[in-house]
Subunit: 333 residues, 2 copies
């Protein structure tokens, strides 16, 4: 195999064929030559979940993960928070001419490992090559297909007093990626939280019937995701600043550089809004998984009708939070 | 709405929200805010087809189509040639900072029109923005989901004497795109053949039971696609050079500049291998559609065991054809 991607790897001819066979089918597949055409899936149950996401993160390797791990975990999580069981993924690569084939192999291997860990199968793929300078290394799209199981899911029915739970510390991914870019001007030990949450969230859903909604607070962070829920379902929510789980070093960087962890991206966290009666059970389940070790209740639904998110500060005053406005960090996922 | 895409359109905050609502949901959707999260699909029948494709074509607008039309038709055709009925599409956009919002609207509108024409629904999407210089305008991934209907499909069982049919003239897309780039140094009147073939191919499949396989000869052209079939199924095929349908102006450009229409990309053509007894019926059906007006038989399967493709020249000699080797044209789809 060559050392670098050339335009000929993308023209559909002999080199494309070898790239698919030697890298993608080798890592993902059962040697099925049809892998990179339309795949045929046997799905039982007629309610299918589908989601798509493109990954353009910079740098492509960062502490705690890579664009490959992220491309699998991110789409698995989108399905999982919707209440679906993830089953299949497709992947579409746009690769820049000159990209290192050993980096590509590492990325594809990260994808294969994460897929194996989560139990999803990569069933179809596509590779395009663009000229040098026309893309930044590699972009990956993953589309996920799952099923909604009868009787298991989020009710989307809310009540005053429902608890807002977050499955762990916030802002880790954002700070880890910015640090890996060298943009902070300081070194931090923080790793990205990049992880697939399907097993943890599946256990939450099958063990309780009080889950109202689940979401993954990625781009825009915890605050933006909660504002979206508040607006979509006309809920007034309040979260307590002092209960927000933030790692000490993330807190330190935010204080120093003026970031707000509420708006930093996460890639391995879930927000779960759950009936008050079930909140302890949910916390217990989450803490049984390494990804949910720091799960806590951070607030509750305090009213209906208006869509707004309030932050109660340690001094007891309430601040209205909006969704992220203006660019904080491009290329974070 | 702004005139140009900024990084803030991609950070998951207020501007991302507006971009999705005002451009994508406006064009594709029923106003459902969930459109850009996981979608829930009701699918009857347990055999699902899935395929994915990224589109990086340059230029993004060309005679006969655009990246938007292509992104829908290309994925619809991948499903259709596999024998599936296309139902749903997802779309993932990677957009360069500074990209014109009016161009984006035009692309999205082309997608919506083509989806409507073909009867597929765009059910989920994603938008990422990368810094100026990090992508070439816009890249689109579409993933398609369809169903295989009981008793309808390609047999993948071949016999000596099976006819090889192509649904129309070859090379139109390749020449039209190269001309639109200004790379030919001459002007040609050729339009891309970019079109969704689902209705035509569905009629072929439901009207005959002799279809062995269908493929769309895109990147790599007719020859590469036929070599792949020959190798995958260990067939010796022969096609007749004099029966290949090539538009006069495409022939002229190829002669002048040394291109081979057998290796030029097509985006609205199908290869159909069919039992000899059914070939006339298939040609009749194809010719009943504007996209199949120039359908002809170009060759046949002459043996089994070895995977090879022969071209019979007008002088009666046989030439062995290989798949495309080396870059002819990057960014053709």
């Amino acid at each position: 195999m060559e050392k670098y991607i050339s335009l000929a790897h993308g023209d559909g001819g002999e080199l494309s064929h070898r790239l698919i066979r030697e890298i993608f089918v080798e890592a993902f597949g059962d040697g099925n030559a049809a892998m990179f055409d339309a795949a045929s899936l046997n799905i039982t149950g007629s309610k299918i979940a589908v989601t798509t996401d493109s990954f353009v993160i910079k740098p492509i390797f960062f502490p705690g993960g890579s664009i490959g791990k992220l491309a699998v975990a991110g789409t698995v999580n989108d399905l999982s928070v919707s209440g679906a069981m993830p089953l299949y993924l497709t992947c579409g690569f746009v690769i820049e001419e000159g990209f290192s084939i050993s980096d590509l192999k590492r990325i594809v291997s990260d994808m294969a490992n994460e897929a194996k860990k989560t139990g999803v199968t990569i069933v179809a793929g596509d590779t395009k090559v663009v000229e040098r300078g026309s893309a930044d290394g590699v972009y990956i799209n993953t589309t996920g297909i799952g099923i909604y199981e009868q009787g298991i899911g989020c009710s989307l029915e809310f009540e005053e007093g429902d608890a807002i739970v977050v499955s762990g510390t916030i802002g880790d991914h954002g700070i880890a990626v910015l640090a890996a870019r060298g943009e902070l001007g300081i070194t931090v030990p923080t790793k990205s939280d990049c992880a697939s949450l399907n097993q943890m969230l599946s256990e939450v859903l099958t063990s309780t019937n009080g889950v109202r909604i689940m979401r993954d607070p990625t781009r825009g962070g915890l605050a933006t995701t909660l504002v979206e829920i508040a607006e979509d379902f006309h809920l007034t929510m309040k979260i307590n600043e002092s209960s927000l789980p933030v790692k000490e070093e993330v807190h330190g960087v935010c204080d120093l550089l003026g970031f707000d962890p509420l708006y930093l991206a996460n890639e391995g966290k879930a927000i779960i809004i759950v009936a008050n009666k079930d909140k302890d059970r949910v916390i217990e389940i989450l803490r049984g998984f390494p990804e949910g070790h720091d799960a806590v209740v951070i607030g509750s639904i305090i009213g209906k009708g208006k869509g707004q998110l309030l932050l109660e500060t340690p001094l007891g005053s309430n601040r209205l939070l909006n969704r992220l406005s203006g660019t904080m960090f491009p290329r974070i996922c």
